[in-house]
């Protein structure tokens, strides 16, 4: 079995506990809020349509991971480090059951799939993570990098370069 490390996890923990101490170019990263919570600080109150459907589009979907999810992420990392990728995937799926809309978890699952040589599924999972990470450019950028690697693995060089480009654009935005 290949020894493998979930590259993202230390970054995650950093983000979770040390907001704003990133060494990468200053990415406007709002403080995480629990998804179900009300409005973001400073957010203008949105008008409500007569039907009562809040016309509120893409709000940055940054979620604080609950201790349960953090524990499962740690477990997944250990499992991946000891070469047990399938168990790592199972732990991440367990975490997704708890926080199904947390883009980070889908990203890590994608990383594990890539390590398992399932590049096509890795790409799909990264796309899924993107769909849940509206407004979270850092996560999106990482997803695109992963998509690039997955495409490379699938022999799609052009697609891989395009994905890399997207990743850089998101970083430099």
């Amino acid at each position: 079995m290949i020894s493998y490390r979930l590259t993202g996890i230390p970054v995650v923990l950093l983000l979770l506990f040390m907001q704003g101490c990133s060494t990468s170019p200053p990415v406007p990263y709002p403080p995480p809020v629990v998804e179900q919570g009300g409005t973001l600080p400073g957010e203008p109150a949105r008008p409500v349509t007569p039907g009562g459907i809040q016309a509120q589009p893409a709000r940055p979907t940054v979620t604080t991971s609950s201790p349960a999810v953090v524990a499962l992420l740690g477990q997944a990392e250990n499992q991946a480090n000891t070469g047990n990728l399938e168990a790592a995937a199972a732990s991440l799926e367990r975490a997704i059951r708890i926080e199904p809309r947390n883009p980070l978890l889908w990203y890590h699952l994608a990383t594990v799939k890539l390590a398992q040589q399932e590049a096509a599924q890795a790409e799909q999972l990264a796309v899924k993570s993107n769909s849940l990470a509206a407004g979270n450019r850092m996560q999106q950028s990482r997803n695109w990098r992963l998509i690039g690697r997955a495409r490379q693995a699938l022999g799609d060089g052009t697609g891989a370069r395009a994905a890399e480009r997207r990743a850089r654009e998101l970083e430099n935005h």
Partner: protein
């Protein structure tokens, strides 16, 4: 002549010698043949015996309950789960499988369990509840908070995947002694003394039969009967009897009496359930009394023991008098031998048979869900994999949700029948509940009787879906933002369409009116047929078929215009798959009922991992889902909010078919998706629309879920604009009925509506959004 004679004599002497050696050779050969034959029989009977003995059923488990602070779970639900796990309530928990409770705080010692990801040790936990949530979780030994804990999963059923056959396997220790005593008393009193055959018993039986000029007595030992059951055939020849006798002797040489008795209890033929043979006392107990064997009383044991002689002749459902006489005979014998006291036998003899009505009653707790599990197993396993015995199957079933669904469906249908004066029991229903993002089947109802193991409507009732198909039509349109937006006005004026072959199609609206020009989102919200038909014809039926294929619809689709209005038959599970793609924001997520399978030695065999495929761009899905929110806010689904809280985010669609044959509702909220169908098995009218039938059951079901937060998926290139619905143009403060609608960036209207006074338009949320992040 003399020479000849001489020669002849010599020859004959030689003949005598050779005769003798021939005889001995023949005898030797015969002996060898016989030994070979016996060896062959020995092999056969041992194979059968060991095969049956080790043929352990696959054990099917529900999802394990995960515990963490903040999890939605009430103290009652938690206790129900513990009860389903047979955890023992005690004053002070000291060993695994026990719990104590002090107000809203439980002290639980979990059992160790082997999961897919390895052995999990027993945990000593304190779990606190407040409101509808887990509010505290600590390690009871250290007092330190625990981030996550997992109970062992509830066993929800067992089956042999290979034989497609349910069985309740008994260990001899689990069988009540009074049953085995009675069995031995009736069938084979010498069981513990003989060597497999009882010649005296055979002679006795023969004599009795001769006297009665017919077969009245068997004389077979239990061992012989067991052998007979191994090679079940109705043939009654002498060779067969002889074979059975030899094999019985062989069995007795190899195995202990108790092993033979245990095999007998699990193997003996005790009845016929349709085309399924009922083998063993465990299954028979469920088949005749719908109870586990341990819960039966003495006359019920007597009835089962009596059945051994002739399950068909003494069938208690078909021939209750014969069965009763036979049962009472058994009771008499039991009393005679002191297995039961005379007064008790007397009382028992006077009691009724108490067998339940015939029906394919399931021994499994959730037969409809298990049916799905079995099918998914059969789909993914080769036969030789399936026959690997003693599998452990971890499923996605959430028993809490399943119980809720069963209760809601049964009481909902009953309520509908009462309220609408429909003959009781006529309405049937089916429902599926899944997790939106993971595609896990959490609960499934195949009919209103949750214990019925027959026709599984959730999987096999293929019914017209009606308006449930409309979102696919609207998606096809909204994928062309240059042509269609939610504000595009659609023509709802009467339509007569003549196909190339001359057939005329005149779709009409449910309210028998046409509504002139209506904005696209309202046409879907109110489920207008005419405007949808026009839209579908405009888009082309082939493009709608293509959309449905992308959404994962696999069955035959007739590319006729009526397809647009739902002229296609689907099962509730298939509809769930279709809506899964909408709910998850454009990702096809295969519905899974199985998470993982372990081999008999608890090593991982296979895991069914989560997989997704982006099949539709998130932005148009976002638009369709917005329209589906209008369905429940102001369209055909608005009855939802009469009961559910205003703030709850729900998207859904009603479906009604011709003559009100089918009533459907498909909807999602938070991470839960559910499809409910109501109809009749004879396909007659239910008198219900989607709104007045299935929707009410869906509503009742979701009332029991906590507030699951948003179900909204987001798309980046979406912007909101204020729209005047009457014209589909830009609105401002001058427009009374303005609504904010999402548009794929740049596709919204540029012109102002007549009502607009040119005041400042409300700030565009997307602009605000961009400012924040750029």
């Amino acid at each position: 002549m003399a020479r000849r004679r001489k020669r002849g004599r010599r020859k004959s002497r030689r003949k005598v010698v050779s005769h003798r050696s021939l005889w001995s050779r023949l005898l030797l050969l015969l002996c060898l043949l016989l030994a070979g034959y016996v060896g062959y029989l020995d092999l056969q009977v041992r194979q059968q015996f060991d095969g049956k003995r080790w043929s352990l059923p696959a054990r099917v488990y529900a999802r394990p309950l995960e515990l963490y602070v903040g999890r939605e779970l009430t103290a009652d639900q938690f206790q129900t789960e513990l009860r389903a796990l047979y955890y023992l309530p005690v004053d002070a928990a000291t060993q695994p499988g026990r719990f104590s409770k002090n107000r809203n705080v439980f002290h639980v010692i979990t059992r160790p369990f082997t999961f897919w990801d390895g052995q999990q040790n027993s945990a000593n936990l304190r779990v606190g509840f407040s409101g509808d949530k887990v509010s505290a979780l600590t390690d009871a030994r250290t007092g330190r908070p625990a981030s996550l804990a997992r109970l062992d999963p509830v066993l929800v059923g067992s089956f042999y995947p290979a034989h497609n056959e349910d069985r309740v396997l008994l260990k001899l220790d689990d069988v009540p002694v009074s049953l085995t005593d009675a069995l031995i008393a009736i069938e084979d009193r010498g069981f513990y003394k003989h060597h497999g055959v009882a010649p005296l018993a055979i002679l006795r039986a023969l004599w009795a039969n001769v006297r009665a000029r017919g077969v009245v007595q068997g004389g077979s030992t239990l061992t012989q009967q067991l052998v007979k059951n191994f090679f079940l055939s109705s043939e009654r020849s002498l060779t067969r009897k002889l074979n059975e006798a030899i094999m019985a002797l062989l069995l007795e040489m190899h195995y202990e009496k108790d092993e033979i008795l245990e095999a007998y209890l699990n193997e003996v033929y005790l009845g016929q359930d349709g085309n399924r043979a009922v083998h063993g006392f465990g299954l028979a107990s469920h088949f005749y009394f719908e109870k586990p064997l341990a819960e039966l009383n003495v006359e019920q044991y007597a009835l089962l023991v009596g059945l051994v002689k002739g399950p068909s002749y003494y069938n208690p459902r078909r021939h209750p008098e014969r069965a009763r006489a036979r049962r009472n005979l058994v009771l008499d014998v039991m009393a005679e031998l002191g297995l039961v006291d005379t007064a008790e036998a007397e009382r028992a003899s006077n009691r009724p048979l108490e067998v339940t009505k015939q029906g394919r009653k399931a021994i499994n707790t959730f037969p409809a869900f298990l049916d799905l599990v079995r099918r998914q197993l059969q789909r993914d396993y080769r036969d030789e994999d399936i026959t690997s015995e003693g599998l452990t199957i971890f499923t996605t079933l959430d028993p809490q949700l399943q119980w809720q669904l069963e209760r809601t469906l049964a009481s909902g249908l009953q309520g509908l029948e009462k309220g609408r004066r429909i003959e009781g029991g006529k309405l049937e229903g089916a429902a599926v509940v899944t997790s939106v993002q993971g595609g896990e089947v959490l609960a499934l109802a195949g009919g209103r009787d949750p214990k019925f193991a027959g026709f599984n409507r959730a999987l096999d009732a293929h019914r017209q879906v009606g308006s449930l198909l409309k979102p696919a039509v609207y998606l096809t349109a909204l994928e062309k933002p240059e042509r269609y937006t939610l504000a595009t006005l659609l023509d709802d004026s009467p339509l007569t369409y003549t196909a190339r072959n001359g057939t005329v199609w005149k779709p009409g609206n449910y309210d028998k009116m046409s509504h002139g020009e209506v904005p696209l989102y309202q046409a879907l919200a109110h489920s207008y047929n005419i405007s949808t038909a026009r839209l579908g014809l405009d888009l082309g039926i082939d493009s709608i078929v293509a959309t449905l294929r992308r959404l994962g619809v696999e069955q035959r689709l007739n590319p006729y215009p009526s397809l647009v209005l739902g002229a296609v038959e689907m099962s509730p599970l298939q509809v769930t798959g279709l809506y899964q793609t909408f709910a998850s924001g454009g990702f096809l997520t295969p519905l899974r009922a199985i998470n993982a399978v372990l081999a008999a030695d608890k090593t991982p065999l296979q895991r069914y991992s989560l997989s997704v495929r982006a099949v539709v761009d998130p932005a148009p899905v976002y638009l369709v889902n917005t329209a589906l929110r209008y369905v429940v806010r102001e369209g055909t689904g608005r009855a939802l909010y009469q009961v559910l809280p205003e703030g709850r985010d729900i998207a859904g669609k009603t479906g009604t078919t011709d003559d009100l044959r089918d009533s459907w509702f498909a909807g999602f909220s938070g991470d839960r998706l559910s499809v409910v169908w109501i109809g009749r098995d004879d396909n007659a009218s239910t008198g219900l629309t989607g709104s007045s039938g299935a929707l009410l059951i869906w509503r009742d079901l979701f009332r029991h879920f906590g507030n699951p937060g948003t179900s909204r998926t987001v798309a980046e290139n979406i912007e909101y604009q204020d729209i005047d619905p009457a014209t589909g143009l830009l609105a401002d403060a001058g427009c009374k009925d303005a609504v904010q609608l999402p548009f794929i960036a740049g596709s919204g209207p540029h012109e102002n509506a007549p009502c607009a006074r040119g005041d400042q338009v409300l700030p565009n949320p997307v602009d605000w959004f961009k400012e924040l992040f750029q």
